[in-house]
Symmetry: C2
């Protein structure tokens, strides 16, 4: 693996010399080449699908794994959209002249070599490769064993375009060692790899975070809350809560627990229950909630569970301070929202809650690169440092200071 990663590292120097227009034309070639090789890719995918049958994968997993003509077309379109993004490298982020007359330019540059560890969806292979290439980063892709034939076929197509353009195939590297040991080695290779992005289940992410010596941007648990304050417009509040829970329960920015101000609980909870019943949401409540509406009991463990399903905890709290208290204890720092017309209460919540995205009067479901207007999304980071929250392609850059002098000494 070391030789392999050394080639990737050397490749990052080559990549940093390629102009933006050249990168974009290569990306468009890649999109077209994926279209031209649809048959080969779908054929490779049938091997993975056969393995999936053999291994009794769930139908949800099989759906994520499946590639057909329209999904390959979607992969090609995604690459074209990435080609159309603004050049992320070379942006002057800040600049000033020092007392000694040195002109300092803080400039965005690629991170270098980025390792992506992911599972099932084979389109991650082409999406990630394109995002990294666009930002002049070499990617080392480590896909799941279940998608190995599809991933190999996709990488082969992308690499063939690199070769046609006299570029090393190492710029888009696919790690074929699908073993756990492969991951264990990769995340310790700080000599060659500058960043690891694990995309997958909680087990993978925790393993990588605890063992990597390379920097990690992780996409972890979303234990999101909405707090309905006594000064909320109740209709607004209920509509937002329904949206945050039920529009797509299986994603990280969906709400898991609804907090209700005790002052309005008697009036609000029956109305809340009526709407959630229509949406077939399974409700669980604290003892105060259950004194007002008939729902199952929510345990401490429930308040700590990311259901990723149409299940909701409800808790009656003592005003905004009670809501903050609960979120400090159970929140995962992803997305939290207060529904209130009172500006002082709202600002208190916005100030006190430490999460990537803190909302007033809106659904937590807006925490993603698309809704934020980032064009393409690398992921939603739950890191506190480097990148936090929705991560656009700029999240794949770092910076250096360029300093222009005229003979200055100290």
């Amino acid at each position: 693996m070391e030789r392999f990663l050394k080639e990737a590292k050397d490749g990052s120097r080559v990549l940093s010399t390629i102009s933006g227009s050249k990168k974009n034309s290569i990306l468009r070639e890649m999109a077209n080449e994926l279209r031209a090789k649809t048959k080969e890719i779908v054929q490779a995918n049938t091997l993975d699908m056969a393995d999936a049958d053999k291994n009794n994968l769930s139908s949800a997993l099989k759906d994520r794994l499946l590639l057909d003509e329209s999904r390959v077309e979607a992969m090609a379109v995604a690459i074209e959209e990435i080609a159309a993004l603004k050049e992320p490298v070379g942006r002057v982020l800040d600049g000033w002249i020092t007392e000694e007359g040195l002109k300092i330019e803080k400039t965005s540059i690629p991170i270098g070599v980025i390792g992506i560890i992911y599972e099932s969806r084979p389109n991650v292979t082409s999406d990630t490769a394109a995002l990294c290439f666009k930002s002049s980063n070499v990617c080392v892709l480590k896909g799941g064993k279940e998608a190995q034939h599809s991933n190999k076929a996709i990488a082969k197509v992308l690499q063939s375009v690199l070769t046609k353009n006299n570029l090393p195939t190492a710029l888009i590297s696919l790690l074929e060692d699908s073993s756990r040991e492969g991951v264990a080695k990769l995340i310790k290779m700080d000599k060659y790899v500058d960043l690891i992005i694990p995309r997958g289940g909680a087990g993978l992410i925790s393993y990588v975070s605890q063992n990597a010596t390379v920097s990690v941007v992780k996409h972890d648990k979303g234990q999101c809350h909405i707090y309905i304050d006594k000064d909320a417009k109740l209709d607004n509040a209920i509509a937002i809560a329904i949206n945050a829970k039920t529009q797509r329960p299986g994603v990280c920015n969906a709400m898991e627990t609804l907090l209700v101000d005790k002052v309005i609980a008697d009036n609000a909870l029956p109305k809340i229950k009526a709407e959630f019943d229509k949406a077939h949401t399974e409700l669980k409540g604290c003892s105060k909630t259950r004194a007002i509406i008939d729902v199952k009991e929510a345990t401490e463990e429930d308040f700590d569970t990311e259901y990723l399903a149409n299940i909701l905890n409800i808790k009656v709290v003592d005003g905004v301070d009670g809501a903050i208290e609960h979120i400090v204890r159970f929140g995962s720092g992803h997305s939290e929202s207060i529904i209130s017309e009172d500006i002082t209460t709202a600002e208190k919540f916005l100030g006190a809650i430490d999460a990537a995205a803190v909302y007033v009067n809106a659904s937590t479901r807006f925490t993603d690169g698309g809704s934020f207007g980032f064009g393409a999304e690398v992921g939603i980071s739950t890191n506190k440092l480097h990148a936090r929250g929705p991560m656009g392609i700029e999240g794949l850059t770092t910076y250096k200071f360029k300093i222009y002098g005229s003979g200055q000494t100290r």
Copy 2:
């Protein structure tokens, strides 16, 4: 330790509610209290000095350890300067309105709990505590055993001001467990600690980087180069080289290797040697260098050594490409400089070199917070992510997105 760190974590919520003017008045009180307790601090320091004698510490180390009246006064002044800095928390870093009409504000916030692991100099205790307090971060200070009495005395003074202001002493925590095991535990406490900054020798930094599960901002080796191009003004070039090597050889932004374009080597090297001889610099050279001037041999190992002393490697290289080649191989990503009047050559160097600070026509010695105009310096980061290069107090903040809606759902 866990209970101790939990108090620190809880303290970070308290700290985030204190206004800027209150923080500044507390900092000024701390400065005055240090002055008032000079005698006690100097007395505690004599215990450390006695231990230093017993343990035969070098005179350089003893000088770093020593506190007298003027050094305590300098610590107080440093705190007052930190109080005078612009408020680092609550800066709106970016802002926009999304297509759905959500107003997004990207706002700077404290990182949370910052662990600082450092050696000898006791003034680091007050400097770091003040920088963290100013940026609303709780600090967990882990000083060296050799300065334990001084550190304890300083922390006691700062904590007494916290107590007078009804604040928990945990906001400025001093870890009294000076053992290696104490460090080993601290750097794995990602549940309570958000960032570790190790300040000390290479051994400490490497140990922390390899074993921490908490994010680390490190201040590592500075293997800095200056390349004199054929299109340099030679007088300028020599003055810069002399400055970068000899003005303060023991620091990380000092030059370790001088690269000279082969086209001008015959003419330039004798002049370079004459000036460095005046500065009593010990010169070592590659074989091409030694064919022109009489110096010792520079080995591969020498090119990889941060001397931190008045010793310099010289290498003759094949133009800017040869210089880039050498720096890619031996540079540590700290500070690199090209001396050239040719704009195309200079920009090639500025673009190709991946280092925190890349200079044209200036000394590498300018890489620090003071020269960059940052007011106070937290350190010089050799990380590639989060903070890179000179790190002002803003380096102790991260951000969150505040999102203002009016009932939006998805």
